[in-house]
Amino acid sequence: MLSIKNLHASIEGKEILKGINLEVKPGEVHAIMGPNGSGKSTLASVLAGREDYEVSSGEISFNGKDLLELEADERAKEGVFLAFQYPIEIPGVTTTNFMKTALNKIREHKGLEPLDAVSFLGMMKEKMKLVEIDQALLSRSLNEGFSGGEKKRNEIFQMAMLEPTLSILDETDSGLDIDALRIVANGVNKLKNDDNATIVVTHYQRLLDYIVPDFVHVLFNGKIVKTGGKELAHELEAKGYDWIKEEASIA
């Protein structure tokens, strides 16, 4: 589904990603871990198509399409979803209206008619249950005055509504208490199926107790320096990142 080859990316002249290789197949959950500043969030942003980053070399192919050729909104229409680490506030625009606009843009791209009000409302009700989100929250201005937990739940709600094929969760666990973490993780797990894939970007192993990855990749200094199964996350939790850094510097 997703194939990243030798990806190099920089921001303001500073190279952050220095040759990333990654293969993601349908039905898989990949965790990207690593110390602060290793390039995790940069990878998420580059995949989503953020303009601030410049890709100097490498390829990203997504379901046969060259992702780097597509604008951010075109990538979203193709099924790439980024759950933001810091969701953005848009005053005066309710989550409901935001989702209605987004969903109909995606449907238009797929050659489908816009969803009528009744079907849209029905769909919302169903997806709201997944992340235990309150209707009242969805009628408020997007992310404005939301608590940290509400913002993250709202991200997962949007993910549920848009039904992406590739979801990238950027530090979704940051700022969540244990209950909120469980709710968010439950939502993600329920959305998982054989046709979609998830990339979980996280600093801590905690989230991976709930969203169990098939692969764990350790990103250090702009490269994936180690790949393993879910047990690698536990090892990192127990031993920290220092041994990885040492291994990487030896190699």
Binding site: E51, A76, I88, G92, N97, M99, F120, M124, Q158
Partner: protein
């Protein structure tokens, strides 16, 4: 230029979509203005002697006046001797029903998305269509007449209800009020007249669409709305103008009279041609709009969405004379390219316990200049009066300007006045967030601007919201959830 600036530039520099002209055989006065032209107009309209005298008095005053210079706008002075002050489309006979309306004219309305028949059938809005100063179709008149409501063109009102026109014309905006009001009083061509009798609640939204048509023609509309005791009316006015090269002067006057416990809601969407990217052409919109809450507990509410004109100079105001009377002003003013807008309101508190509320949202893009100018004046005997003002500015890109000029004059210690102002920029983060959800850049900007203006747009009647949507390329909130 960054990507973000490019998006904003493209959005801001979109070509005017309603640009075309319809070729009517114009029945026009020669260019220029003198007493003979005033007499010509009055004679064309078969007006009574008193109205001609009223016009002439205004004309003589106007000759002595000079153009106002205090607004934050810059433009070449119109050549008043080169303007055609009267032109009318030439129908063979006066249309008796919609079916008799010139098909070409109706096509024009349809292209604007304003089909009279659709309006009539779907929304229940009675439409009095004014094109180039002569009314061509009036609907729902009979139904309204049964309630005693008068809704007709100004010229018709002069013929059918001279006593009402005579009583109220110039009572809110005196003919010598200002340069452009005086000019309008001298040469006004037509407009709308609306009278709601005592105790009547007007069951439909009254609506008039204005449109400038023949080339080089000044548009001098005049609207008079009178709401007697305990009555209610919601009045809508909207306009789009065809593209042209020469500046056109538009100097309208709107007067609203609200008696005891009457409520008048006046909404407008203004989309006069703003000129091209370089500021060439475009309408000069110098309008005087004022309402008086003459009786106790009266209420006047102005809602405006201003997207057009090269230069706008417009301050819909409320004189709160009656005790406990209320004035409201909700405004969205969008300027792009080289547009200049100096708009706002005046709230004059004279009666006791009067209240006013001002919500102004300015959006500036391109190299435009957008100014809010507002006066809150509380007189000595206006005890316990209150005002709340909120003036927000949104900037798109870094070449435009937003200005706020609040004037507050309080002569009464028991009164309370609040003023809040903010300035913000559309964020790159906001646009990226929208894009990441599948919303393209242009729609993202529209969505964000729409959200920003929501408080004002929500005040528009539903029927009119559609027009506002089209003009702002925005989607209104709240259809679901």
């Amino acid at each position: 230029m960054s990507k973000d600036d490019q998006i904003l530039e493209e959005f801001a520099s979109k070509e005017y979509e309603h640009g075309w002209t319809v070729d009517f055989e114009a029945d026009s006065a020669p260019p220029g203005l003198n007493e003979d032209i005033v007499r010509f107009i009055s004679a064309k309209k078969e007006e009574p002697e008193w109205l001609l005298e009223w016009r002439l008095k205004a004309y003589r005053n106007w000759r002595k006046m000079t153009e106002p210079k205090w607004a934050n706008v810059h433009y070449p002075k119109p050549d008043f001797e080169n303007i055609i002050y009267y032109s009318a489309p030439k129908p063979k006979d006066k249309p008796k029903s919609l079916d008799e309306v010139d098909p070409e004219m109706r096509k024009t309305f349809e292209r604007l998305g304003i089909s009279l028949t659709e309006q009539k059938r779907l929304t229940g809005v009675a439409v009095d269509a004014v094109m180039d100063s002569v009314s061509v179709g009036t609907t729902f008149k009979k139904q309204l007449a049964e309630l005693g409501i008068i809704f007709c063109s100004f010229s018709e009102a002069v013929k059918e209800h001279p006593e009402l026109v005579k009583k109220y014309i110039g009572s809110v905006v005196p003919s010598n009020d200002n340069f452009y009001a005086a000019l309008n009083s001298a040469v006004f061509s037509d407009g709308s007249f609306c009278y709601i009798p005592k105790g009547v609640r007007c069951p439909v939204e009254l609506s008039t669409y204005f449109r400038i048509n023949a080339a080089n023609t000044g548009q001098f509309e005049r609207t008079l709305i009178v709401a007697e005791d305990d009555s209610y009316v919601s009045y809508l006015e909207g306009c789009t103008a065809p593209m042209r090269d020469e500046n056109q002067l538009h100097a309208a006057v709107v007067e609203i009279y609200a008696a005891k416990n009457a409520e008048v809601k006046y909404s407008t969407v203004q989309n006069w041609y703003p000129g091209d990217k370089n500021g060439k052409g475009g309408i000069y919109n110098f309008v005087t709009k004022r309402g008086i809450c003459a009786g106790d507990y009266a209420k006047i509410s102005w809602t405006q969405v201003e997207t057009g004109s090269a230069v706008t100079w417009k301050y819909p105001s409320c004189i709160l004379k009656g005790d406990y009377s209320q004035g409201e002003f909700y405004s969205v003013a969008v300027t792009n390219n080289m547009q200049q807008a100096d708009t706002g309101t005046k709230m004059i508190h004279i009666g006791k316990n009067t209240k006013s509320r001002i919500v102004s949202k300015g959006v500036s893009g391109g190299k435009s200049q957008n100014s809010y100018r507002g006066l809150v004046e509380i007189h000595k005997r206006a005890e316990n009066s209150r005002n709340f003002s909120q003036c927000d500015s949104l900037l798109m890109g870094d070449k435009c300007g937003a200005h706020t000029f609040p004037y507050i004059e309080i002569k009464n210690k028991s009164s309370q006045v609040e003023h809040e102002a903010t300035t913000s920029k559309i964020g790159e983060d906001q646009i990226f967030y929208c894009q990441q959800r599948g919303i393209d850049e242009e729609s993202a900007v529209a969505l964000i601007v729409n959200g920003y203006c929501k408080e004002v747009l929500n005040n528009l009647p539903m029927e009119f919201a559609v027009e506002a949507q089209k003009l702002l390329a925005l989607t209104l909130e709240g259809s679901v959830g």
